[in-house]
Every structure is written in C-alpha cells, then in structure tokens.
C-alpha cells in the first residue's frame, strides 16, 4: 500500500510538470501495479485492487485539470474595454429582420396589457414555492384527493414547482388587505410558468404558462365575475362573444365553474362551437380567512387559465412542444 501512495505522489508531480499529461497513464510503474495483483494472497487482493483503481481515477482527474490548464495558457487575453478588436472596426448588429419575439411572451404581454387597462395589477408567479401556498392556503387539506389532479413535482426539501399560478393568491390577498379595508378593492392578475408531472406530447407539456385573476370587494358577485371574463375575451378577440359555464370542482372556490366562450369568427368558429377557456369561481371563505380577510364582510372571485391555448388558437400552432424547443425554424415564423 505504501508503494501505491508513493507512486501517487510521483505521478502527480509528473502530471503537473509535463506538457503531455496523458502520457503519464502509460507509465511503466502503473502497469507494474497490475502484475503485483496475482502474487498477493486472496484476502489482500480486494483492497489492493480498489486502491489501484482509486489512483487511476484521481490521476485521470488531475490529467484533465492539467490539460485544461495547458489549453488555457494558450488563450490570448482580450482588452475587454476596447470598442472593437485590434485592426478591426465596430462589429455590425445582426440583421433586424432576424430578430423575433417568442409568441408566448408576446401573447402574455397582450393579455397583461388588457387586464392592466381593466384595472388589474400584474404580478409574476413564482417558479418554486412551498406546500402552504400551493395547497394549504387554498383550502386543500393534507391528503385531500383533489391534490392528485395537480401532478406536482417536489424537491428534496419539499418545495414545489407550482402547478398553478394560484400559488400567488394568498400573497396577493395579504398584500391587498390594507387597501381593501380602507374601502378599496383587490384586483390583480398573476402570470407565469407552472409545472406538472405529465408526459409530453403534442398537447401536453410539463412546463406551461397560466394567468390567474383575483378580485375582492364588499360587493363582488358571480355575475360580476362572468361579466369581467366576458369583457376580457371580447377585448382580446375584438368581437362580441357568447359565454357558457358548467359546474367545476376546485377546493379554493365555492361555487366553482368552468368557463367557455363561443369560438370567435376570427378563429374560424361557427355558432355552437365552444372553447373551454378557464376555471373560475367565488373565492372560498377559507381562502380569504388564510389571508386574514373577513369572509363575512368581503367576497371575491378568481379565475385561472392557460396561455398556450390562446397562442395555439391564434396562430394555428399544431404542437405544444415547439414552445420550449428553441428551434429557429419555429421562432423565425414570428418576425
């Protein structure tokens, strides 16, 4: 064993001294170690073999480090403060017509813009959160079956990549409480990335975008919620639209509804074609209570829906997977 330790030091010294470190792997002393193996008694062989292997692994790491060092030594430093390279001129920008904004961020800006004009503040949703915001504060008791529907990921620490933008609802309510109690109201949308443990195909993604809205006042009604949503979609599509609802179950609203619009003419819709757009409802008293808002005095409504669907319908995009593909062939269609 001492033998191996001595050799380690010798070989490492050679690695840091040579300009061709990989040659060290061919050293005769290294090969010699293997010829010793059969001469040992069986009880010693295991430990010896392990020590030889460890030496080889450590040596490989040292060689890669030395190779990088040698390679880096050949790197010519730049004057990073200069306006351009020596004997050169100011580089051109890329052609403007190559520049493209992602269709999803473009549509998200559009949606936020309409809600902003309707008097809703916009807040970006978190990409990592805790169980309390994702579920607890939204009236999902521990082990509640409704949690299953969200297919959440978890980190080792128990954090959750949120599966809905409602993960911001408790924060929005808490932040708006003072304004509400001073006689105002809470009106906000939260938007951003959400994550679900789903297999990916043309219509399913583990990563997608949602926009969620929250409105609380002393007099909010379900009728106002439906009016607000209809108004948003009519502005978004620039035409009058019929709406339709059906009962839906979400623990954080009561009553809970699914909301559909008649497919707009611009999208080739005919009367009787419906597009399911989002889930919505009156905020459950327990959710208001979680934010220390008195449900006896205040009522609110909330809704949430996906952004990808709006974009896909608008441009006729056939495959959800294009969005996060980073393919220029896709991106350059959105000049």
């Amino acid at each position: 064993m001492t033998n191996i330790e001595d050799l380690r030091q010798t070989l490492f010294a050679r690695v840091s001294a040579t300009n061709e470190p990989r040659e060290i792997l061919k050293a005769a002393e290294l090969k010699q170690l293997y010829t010793v193996l059969p001469t040992l008694n069986p009880g010693e062989r295991g430990a010896y073999g392990k020590a030889v292997n460890e030496l080889k692994v450590a040596l490989e790491t040292a060689i890669v480090a030395r190779e990088n060092e040698l390679e880096d030594a050949t790197i010519e430093p730049l004057d990073v403060t200069a306006p351009w390279d020596v004997n050169s001129a100011l580089p051109a920008l890329l052609p403007t017509e190559q520049g493209t904004q992602h269709p999803l961020t473009r549509e998200l800006e559009n949606v936020i813009d309409i809600f902003t004009r309707m008097g809703f503040e916009a807040i970006e949703s978190r990409q990592i959160d805790d169980d309390e915001h994702m579920f607890g504060a939204l009236n999902f008791p521990a082990n509640h079956p409704a949690r299953d529907g969200y297919d959440t990921f978890r980190t080792e620490e128990g954090f959750i990549p949120p599966a809905h933008t409602s993960t911001m609802q408790n924060r929005i309510l808490k932040a708006g409480k003072a304004k509400l109690e001073a006689g105002g109201h809470i009106a906000a949308v939260s938007y951003g990335r959400v994550f679900r443990n789903e297999d990916v195909d043309a219509t399913h993604e583990h990563t997608f975008y949602q926009c969620e809205g929250v409105y609380v006042s002393e007099t909010a009604t379900l009728g106002e919620m439906l009016g607000t949503l209809q108004s948003f979609f009519e502005t978004y599509y620039g035409q009058k639209l019929k709406i339709k609802t059906q009962p839906g179950y979400f623990p954080f609203v009561e009553p809970g509804l699914e909301f559909a619009i008649e497919k707009p003419a611009a999208l080739g819709g005919k009367p009787g074609d419906w597009l399911e757009m989002l889930g919505c409802g009156m905020i459950h008293p327990n959710v208001l209570r979680s934010a220390d808002i008195n449900p006896e005095k205040y009522r609110g409504f909330a809704w949430g829906g996906g952004i990808e669907r709006l974009v896909m319908l608008k441009y006729g995009i056939e495959d959800l997977r294009h969005f996060e593909s980073g393919k220029l062939a896709f991106l350059r269609k959105f000049v």
Binding site: P77, Q98, A122, R154, P285
Partner: protein
C-alpha cells in the same frame, strides 16, 4: 363512469331530448365526455324461438335449427311453416328456448364500433343453409360468456325486438370520475337521477327502501351466531355492518335484465350474489363485499370475529387476483381474529373468496377512511369500481339501507335466508350541520334576484330540509351530502341547479383608477424589444436541466434544488443560470442550417446558495444571450456581444463599463473564459450588471459550439436599480459649430483602451467646455508588442465659436497627461 339514461328514467322522468339532457347536465352538474347511442347496435336483433334442432350430418358439433321469428324479418328464406333455418355450433342450443337472432343483413353488435362492422348474410355451412346467426352474450357486446348462445328469460313473443325486451334502446353518458370527486352521491344511479330531476326543476323522491336508515331486514331463520365486529380505530372506519346469509347457490344467476344493466355500465355479471353487490353499488354508490362465512370462521379460529385495523409491519395478504402483497400500517385491513382476510375497500383476500361450493356468506357494508384508501390504491395499484367510490367518501348512514336491500335481493335471486342478526359497529356517527343564510346573501353572492321561495324549492327538489321565513333560509343537507358544510356550499347548490348561465353579466362598479404596468415589467418589455431590434431571437427553455449540463459548465449540482420525482434525468435540477440552457440550443440550430444567430431568454434561476426569503427559495431574474457564427471571423466574438449589449444599454439610456472578469466563483461566470470576458458595470450607479464574454474551451467542446461564440448573462433587477439612479442627461443644443481633433497614442500591448479614456476624461473634466471622446481606430502591428489607439475629441462651446488655438491647447493637455500617466507616445 358510465351512466345509463334508461336506468335514470326508473327514478325520474326525463322529458327532454338526449341532446338537451346532455346540455342540461353539462351546464348544471358535470361535463359529459361522450354520449353513446346504445340502441343503434341492437336495432335488427330479434327475439326468436328455436322450434326444431337436429344435428347436422357429418359434423361433430353443428346443429341445424329452425327459428320462429314471428315472420317479422323480411328478405330471408323461409320453409313451408315460415321458419328460418340457422346452423348453430353452441352446445346449449336446443328446441324450445328463446334466443337473440341476428338476421341476414344485420350487423353483429360486437363489431358495431369497428371500422368495418361485420354484416351477416345467408351462407352454406357444410351443405346446410344458415341465415344470420344465433348470438352469444359476447356477440351481442354485452359481456364475455363462452358457454354458448344467450338464452332469453322472457315471455316476449318471437319477433319482438331484443332491445325492447331488455331496454337496450338506451343512451350511455360517459363522465370523467375526476369531475365528480366531491360528489360521492353521484357515483350511484339514484344520486345522479336526483340531480337530473332537480335540474329539470322536478322534485325527487328517494325510493322508500333507500330512505329507511333503520331498515327492516326481514325474517331471520336459523341461529348462526351474529358476527362480532370491532373497529380498532374510528379514524379507519366510521361504520361496519355484517350479516350472515345461508343457502347460497353459486350457480344461480340474476335475471338477464339485471345482467344487461350491469353489462352496459361496464360490470361483468358473475353469479347472483356478486351481481347483487355490484348492482346495489351501481345504484347507490355503496360498495358491498361478500365473504365465504365458513372459510372466514376457519381462518378466524372458530368464530366470526371481524376486526377493522391497520396493517402490521411484515404482514402479508394474498388477494382475490392472486397477488400476495405486503401490508403497511397505512393500509386498512379486515381481519378474522388475528388474521388479515381483506384489504378494506380495495380487494378481498383469496382465503375467504366465495366459490361454487359456498353455502353461507357474510355480506359486509361499511365505509373506510378515504384518505387511507387513496394511499392504499396508489401503493397497491388497485383501481376497482368499489375503491373509486370509497375514495370519494361514502356516507356511513348509507350502509344500512343498502345491506337491507342486499339481504332481500340475494334471497330473491340466490335463494338465501338471513341466519344472523346484523352486526353494526358505528363509532363515526355525525350530526348534520344546520345552516342558516339569507336570500339577500345568496343573491348578493351570485348576482341574481331569486325569491326565497324559489331557493327553498330548489333545495327541496334535491331533498334538502329547507325552510324559509322572511329572508332567512334554514337548511339541513341530507345525509348523502357530506360536502355541504357552510352557507357558500348552499349558495353553490342554488346557483348551479338554476344554472349559472341564467345569471345576468355585469362589470364590477368601482372607482376608476388607472393601473400602470410595474416598472420591472416595463423594463423587461423594453429589453425584449431592444434585443429583437438587435436581431436576436427570444427563446423559452425549461427551468430544469440535467446534472451533466451543470457539470459541463463547472456548476455544482449540489447547489441546485433537485426534483425527486422528475420525468427524466434531463429535468432533474433547477438551473443556476440561463447560459447552459441557451448553449444547449446552439448545435441543433447550426446543424439545421442557421449560420449566424443570437438567442436570448429572460427567465428565473434558483440556487441553494442563496438565502431563503420568507421561507421559500429566492428567485433570481436573468437575461441571457448567446450569439454564434458558423463561419470564422477575423475579429473576436466578444466584441460583437459587447456591441449588442452597448446597443441595448443605449436604448435604455445607460452607459456601461467593462472590467476584466478575472477570478470569479459566481455560478453565473462559470461558463465564461476569464481572460476573454468582462464584468459589466453601470457607469452612473456603479452597479454590477452581469458578465459578458467568450466561453471556456471545455464548455465550447461540451456544447459543440462553433469557434465564433460569445454571449452575456445579466441581472435585470440590477439594471432596474441602475436605471432608477439615472438622471435626465439632456443638455440644450449649441448654436455654435463643434471642433474635432483626432489623437493617436502608441502604447504597450497590454495597456487597455479604458486606461487611456479614463485619463482623457480626467483632463476633459477640468475644461469647462462640453466635450466627447469617441474611438476611431485600434491598430496593432504584426509584431504585437505595441498598439496604436486613435480617439476623436470633440469640443462644443455653448456661447461662442472656439478658436483653433484653444482646441490645440485642450488636445495638448490631454496628450501630455496621457503620456505622463501611461507609458504612451503620441504618433
């Protein structure tokens, strides 16, 4: 879940068309996935009597039959008696029985949903003409039955339509279970029918037998000891009832009519005992289980001593499906004495299974903790109709009327008698809350104008106990509505049953206050537009990456939050910076023929090295860009990245300084080559904004980057701070001409441009005349020991024209200061 409309009709009138019904249910109860027209399959199937049956000569199993179809079917060859000849190979075919006949030109129901349904004809079979066929249950698409043709238990006349006899002119509603998670009552036909009545505005009356919570179990005959039932922990089971029935005949079947109802909702008929348990489950939502009494007593050591308890560590149980599972303390177990005999609510054990020889049975009617069962379902992979219902939380009151009806029906169809009392352990009895609310409150929440009477009637239609006095409604939900706790739940019922679509739409009345997008959102939009103008393409990439990608750029996976249930190793770690994701896109795009491009992303990154903020990980905004050119260029790519960044800064109104990156341990800087990269700093605030540069050789190799590649990664939050700092920079235009002079410094190779500019600015700051410095040329001769840096000085006085001497003096002051401070020569 499949709901049969004909089955619903047994409990409520339906006086709208199937389309209207589907629309009504969709708007007021639950979304219907599809409506299946069942009757279409059976339109040509006729009841026929076998009047003659003789063996076909030269065949070992075929019979030639003559069928009487009452002369109904046209276009078929008949004998002198008007009978139709059909050859049949089933062992049970014989003269006298009634059968389902599929005439020539009809479609075999089993194939009706195929792309090419099988159309029957008239054909020769071993020399005998056969017209159509006599059908088995399987060919009728009812259930798998290999014993032969289906024998009909009807007294209908030959020629009657098969569908009319067995009520198969039916529509089936396919409903996703998930949509009714909160409504255990709707997992039974009766509960569903109650809703269908109410949404048509009709009152509903639960059948008398089901409304009896302390039912009459009929006469007890014999004196088998009543089983003892012990629920070890009321958390596991709110109620457990058990009763012993004797004289079961395993060969007995339920009437075919019951079998067809089970079959159409997806349950295979087995024998009378099993069919009754399934039938009542489909009807009421309450699952039942039948144990072999004698086997249970044997396993239990001589007595029927039933326990409901937690599973024990190391305990094993062989299930009905033959699997042996290892129980856990989270499972609920039914035990006989000390021995586990069933996984409660999920599946019975093999040791107490009923079979052909079973004479005495125990019927179990119970409820179990839905939370435990949910976990059991996942752990052991059991997805039966029963556990689907148990995991919705069936009410404990329901077990009694259902077990009473089971006793009655099994007696009727399997010939049993009740030989024990009904054991009943009921530790989970709960009182139903009385809810008070006002009509004003209901209308204020929904935005409706319903009268208090209308509200009361709506609730009474679904059998709520509701009374109205002035504005106040006093409501108690029926026992099967354990989801009704608070006023809001009642408001939902009223709104839903009367349809949300009937509500008048309004916009909230409120003060008109303008809302501005946040400064940060506006900044991000501005940066995005600027980068697009600079020719870059925006991308979105996943927030999770492979550990190898982190390692490739020298970031430590231990610093990343790791997903424990990731879909694949590619999506296992939260990313620490955007650059690795962007670099990962380069090669594929180059291979697809894109020679020159820039990709950028604005998104968030996370690292365990950052402190938690309010108990959750800090979220860091980033702007990353990578630019590449497949063709080698003479100039270093760094300068093109810098050009783009300076352009954006200019559009945002910032001036940037670049300082050599040097050694940096930030995750952000890891991909960048320190000698060809810089830290980016805002001049006016001194705020560090990020890193720009070329990539390490190992990184370029790892991501197969072209030689010409560079990029930057910035901190948008720092940019926002820098911009807050910025003062308006406008100075009025001068009416006088400017004077320009170029000055060329020869310096050593390692002197930077910035050093010269800094000294120049120091001098210009002492002169009370507006001035600017711009680069003109950076020349390095071939030997590379020195370089010539030429800059252009421009002077503009606000109030007068400068003289040539003045300008010469300014330039001389700059020249002398630069040559003094830096080892420079003027050339």
């Amino acid at each position: 879940m499949i709901i049969s409309v004909n089955w619903l009709k047994k409990f409520t009138d339906i006086d709208v068309s199937i389309d209207e019904l589907a629309t009504l249910i969709g708007a007021r109860l639950v979304e219907i996935e599809t409506v299946i027209d069942l009757g279409k399959k059976y339109q040509d199937v006729l009841v026929a009597q076998v009047v003659e049956c003789v063996e076909l000569e030269g065949s070992d199993h075929l019979n030639v039959t003559k069928l009487d179809d009452g002369g109904v079917w046209q276009n078929v060859e008949r004998d002198d008696n008007g009978y139709v000849q059909v050859v049949c190979g089933a062992p049970n075919v014989r003269a006298g029985i009634l059968v389902a006949w599929l005439p020539p030109q009809s479609i075999v129901p089993e194939t009706a949903d195929d792309t090419e349904p099988f159309v029957l004809g008239a054909r020769q079979l071993r020399g005998a003409m056969s017209n159509g066929m006599i059908a088995s249950a399987r060919e009728l698409a009812l259930f798998d039955e290999h014993d032969g043709i289906l024998e009909l238990d009807t007294d209908a006349a030959p020629g009657t339509k098969f569908a009319d006899v067995y009520e198969l002119n039916d529509y089936l509603l396919d409903i996703e279970n998930k949509s009714l998670t909160h409504r255990p009552d709707c997992f039974g036909i009766i509960g569903f029918a109650r809703e269908v009545a109410a949404i048509q505005g009709k009152p509903f009356h639960t059948p008398e037998w089901l409304a009896q919570l302390t039912p009459d179990f009929g006469e007890k005959q014999g004196d088998i000891m009543t089983p003892t039932v012990t629920i070890d922990d009321p958390e596991l089971s709110a109620r457990y009832q058990a009763v012993v029935l004797s004289g079961a005949d395993g060969a007995k079947k339920t009437p075919l009519y019951i079998q067809t109802y089970l079959a159409r909702v997806g349950v295979r008929p087995i024998n009378a005992v099993v069919d009754v348990t399934n039938y009542l489950m489909m009807l009421t939502g309450q699952p039942l289980h039948a144990f072999d009494y004698d086997k249970l007593v044997k396993v239990g050591g001589g007595t029927a001593d039933i326990h409901v308890r937690s599973g024990r560590v190391g305990e094993k149980l062989t299930l009905l499906d033959g699997r042996t599972i290892e129980l856990t303390p989270e499972d609920i177990v039914i035990a006989a004495g000390e021995t586990a005999i069933g996984l409660a609510g999920a599946m019975g054990g093999a040791d107490t299974e009923i079979d052909e020889s079973t004479k005495n049975i125990i019927i179990e009617s119970a409820t179990f903790s839905l939370y435990s069962l949910r976990a059991t379902q996942m752990r052991h992979g059991i997805f039966s109709e029963a556990i689907t219902r148990f995991t919705k939380g069936q009410p404990a009151e329901l077990t009694a009327p259902v077990v009473a009806d089971a006793v009655r029906l099994i007696a009727e169809w399997a010939g049993t008698t009740r030989v024990s009392d009904v054991a009943d352990s009921y530790p989970g009895k709960r009182d139903l809350p009385v809810i008070e609310l006002t009509a004003t409150q209901v209308n204020a929440t929904l935005g409706t104008t319903y009268s208090v009477e209308q509200m009361r009637e709506t609730l009474r239609n679904v059998e709520f106990d509701a009374t109205a006095s002035d504005d106040t409604l006093t409501v108690q939900a029926p026992y099967w509505r354990s989801d009704i706790h608070i006023a809001e739940d009642v408001i939902e019922e009223i709104g839903r049953i009367n349809s949300y679509d009937a509500i008048t739409l309004k916009l909230p009345h409120r003060d008109f206050t303008a809302v501005r997008p946040s400064d940060f959102d506006e900044l991000r939009t501005a940066m995005r537009k600027a980068l697009v103008r600079a020719g870059a393409s925006e991308v979105l990439t996943y927030s999770f990456i492979h550990g190898d990608v982190l390692r490739k750029v020298g970031q430590d996976p231990a610093d990343s939050y790791r997903i424990t249930n990731s879909i694949s190793p590619d999506l296992q770690y939260y990313r620490q910076s955007l650059t690795p994701s962007l670099l990962g896109l380069v090669n594929a795009n180059v291979k697809n023929g894109y020679d020159q491009f820039a990709l950028f992303e604005m998104n968030k990154v996370h690292s365990k090295t950052a402190e938690l903020v309010e108990d959750v990980p800090a979220e860091m905004h980033r702007l990353g860009l990578v630019l590449v050119n497949k063709k080698d260029q003479t100039s270093a790519p760094y300068y093109q990245a810098k050009r783009i960044l300076d352009y954006i800064a200019q559009l945002l109104g910032m001036e940037l300084h670049y300082k050599p990156l040097g050694d940096s341990n930030l995750a952000l800087s890891k991909p960048f080559e320190s000698r060809r990269s810089a830290r980016v700093i805002d001049v006016s605030s001194g705020q560090p904004l990020g890193v720009i540069g070329e990539y390490k050789k190992s990184v370029a190799r790892g991501f197969k980057l072209p030689n010409y590649a560079a990029g930057f990664e910035l901190l948008p939050e720092a940019i926002a701070i820098a911009l807050n700092h910025k003062a308006p920079a406008y100075t009025p235009l001068s009416r006088y001409p400017s004077s320009e002079r170029d000055i060329c410094f020869q310096v050593a190779h390692d002197v930077t441009y910035q050093q010269i500019i800094d000294v120049t600015h120091n001098v210009l700051d002492t002169i009370d005349i507006s001035s600017t410095v711009e680069p003109v040329d950076v020349y390095e001769p071939a030997d590379g020991t020195t370089k010539n840096i030429t800059v252009r000085l421009k002077f503009t006085a606000a109030e007068r024209t400068l003289t040539g001497d003045e300008v010469t003096d300014f330039v001389a002051r700059v020249a002398s200061e630069v040559t003094a401070k830096i080892d420079a020569k003027i050339v």
